[in-house]
Symmetry: C2
Subunit: 330 residues, 2 copies
Amino acid sequence: MKRTEDTLVAQISRSLSRDANPKENARLLGPGDDAAIYIPSSKSDLILTCDWFLEGAHFLRALHPPDSVGWKCLARAVSDIAAMGGEPTCFLLSLALPQNCAGKWLESFLGGLQRASKRFNCALAGGDTTKRDEILIQLTVIGEARKSTAIRRSGARPGDLIFVSGRLGEAELGLRLLRRRPKQPLAKNAALRKHLYPQPRIELGQWLARNKLATALMDLSDGLSIDLQRLCKASGVGARISSEKLPLPVMGNTRQTSRLNRMQLALNGGDDYELLFTVPRKRVHRIPPQWRGLPLTTIGEVTRTKKVLLSLPNGRDVPLAAQGWDPFRS
Amino acid sequence: MKRTEDTLVAQISRSLSRDANPKENARLLGPGDDAAIYIPSSKSDLILTCDWFLEGAHFLRALHPPDSVGWKCLARAVSDIAAMGGEPTCFLLSLALPQNCAGKWLESFLGGLQRASKRFNCALAGGDTTKRDEILIQLTVIGEARKSTAIRRSGARPGDLIFVSGRLGEAELGLRLLRRRPKQPLAKNAALRKHLYPQPRIELGQWLARNKLATALMDLSDGLSIDLQRLCKASGVGARISSEKLPLPVMGNTRQTSRLNRMQLALNGGDDYELLFTVPRKRVHRIPPQWRGLPLTTIGEVTRTKKVLLSLPNGRDVPLAAQGWDPFRS
């Protein structure tokens, strides 16, 4: 008798164990039992995070290649581990699928997920599958950080400088390009690649944590304007960032967009998965302008007043409106 | 500016931290950051599990009280930890809600979840929330088991006796009663209580693990007929169970149901969250008929042949058809 749920679980396990990390495998009894067994390192704290990735809300079946859906669902959950300065170790996949996605769509999805799993050194530990009209994906990632080195959002202090990695707003730009021309070649466009295949900044986060360089750290998932407010609120501080210092998206060979639009993208675009962090002035000299090829940019400073302000080129400070993505607002 | 997603996260954290376990709190940096930090015990292995609990598939908004939905979503995920002989420690909640459930429904849901969290000693570590037309719930539970004591499904050996805890088919019976009379008083009916507020057998699982009594262990979530096949497949063995030995559901003051129907319920009813385990003959004397008031019943034995058979009262053995719940079959 064919047990379809068990068959599906077996297919997922097979796809994802193909290139699993042998180091992790020795510490992990993965899928197939009631639960997974994981032997944590005695030198580490655990980092736990979970993320929805839902058809219609986080991706569109007609627009997003299943391979990208597989990559991105893991990449964005892993980014929360990077945002604590941790290292991902294993993940649990909860997947609800329409019957007509159980063939080709699933195969391609698992391909992207498998590459991400290999790239991020993060093995499948277990999961749950069921049938549903729409594709529902939920990822839980377990990571580790050396004892007491994980960096929270709440440590920013007045006078600290504010940094971001990479360029901001590119993923949002990539989404707009994809909507305009769904079939364009991926290789030609960095923004499109960033939207479809984001790269969580795992190594940078770990470097900041191990060297105790950052007082506060988070990843930019909903947009700088909302995420910076969250960091400030958690730390009980304010911030002043300079519009002229923002690392704006590069437009590449696409239609020219005004500087104002590029700034809007950098302030409010979501899905970049770059890191936002604060560094005390006495340690700023240890932050290079580029880290392994990734730009690190000072965009402003932490202030005592709890306001979050944007300095405009004319010298005026205006309150920074939190306009990033919030599913309950739309 | 009101950030609705952040407000919702704060409400969930507040509700669930009220009665959190201080012992666990010292080891847990819970919700509010990019990810949770958890300090695992150096004497334990981690147990990881996750579970869907979806409107329409696992519960019905019109039929199931939100308080029960809150209790049950954690209880059934915790049951997977019990099924390894582990102890739950913390959980992550992924919740997608319609806007019109963000008030009263949510409050009642969180009430049930909070009681379960307290009862199972399992604290909220983090989660993710979003908006959706239907209520989607996903739980990940982290548990611990003393090093190398977790019990898998795969250790059953020919000659071992097969045990189940409690009575089988009661939760399914409770669901049928609920469908027939949605407003009946809960207190009067054990089957209804078991359907709405299942009790994972955490202490029993731990007792079996710590005393190395069971060679294989799992929980009965989809029904004995399918779950026993899974245990046998994982162990590379078969089984013969006796229809006359099954602990049938007690009908209480409800309409009399035939013995045949009660047997069908016991074999194929899901959602009982009782434990199924195998014990080598030389250790069987250590398994009492009741454990802390919970019946433990021998229902059959593990066989060398890979068939799973049901012995009927007339002495005939028939293949046991796997008719438990499988979302991809219906």
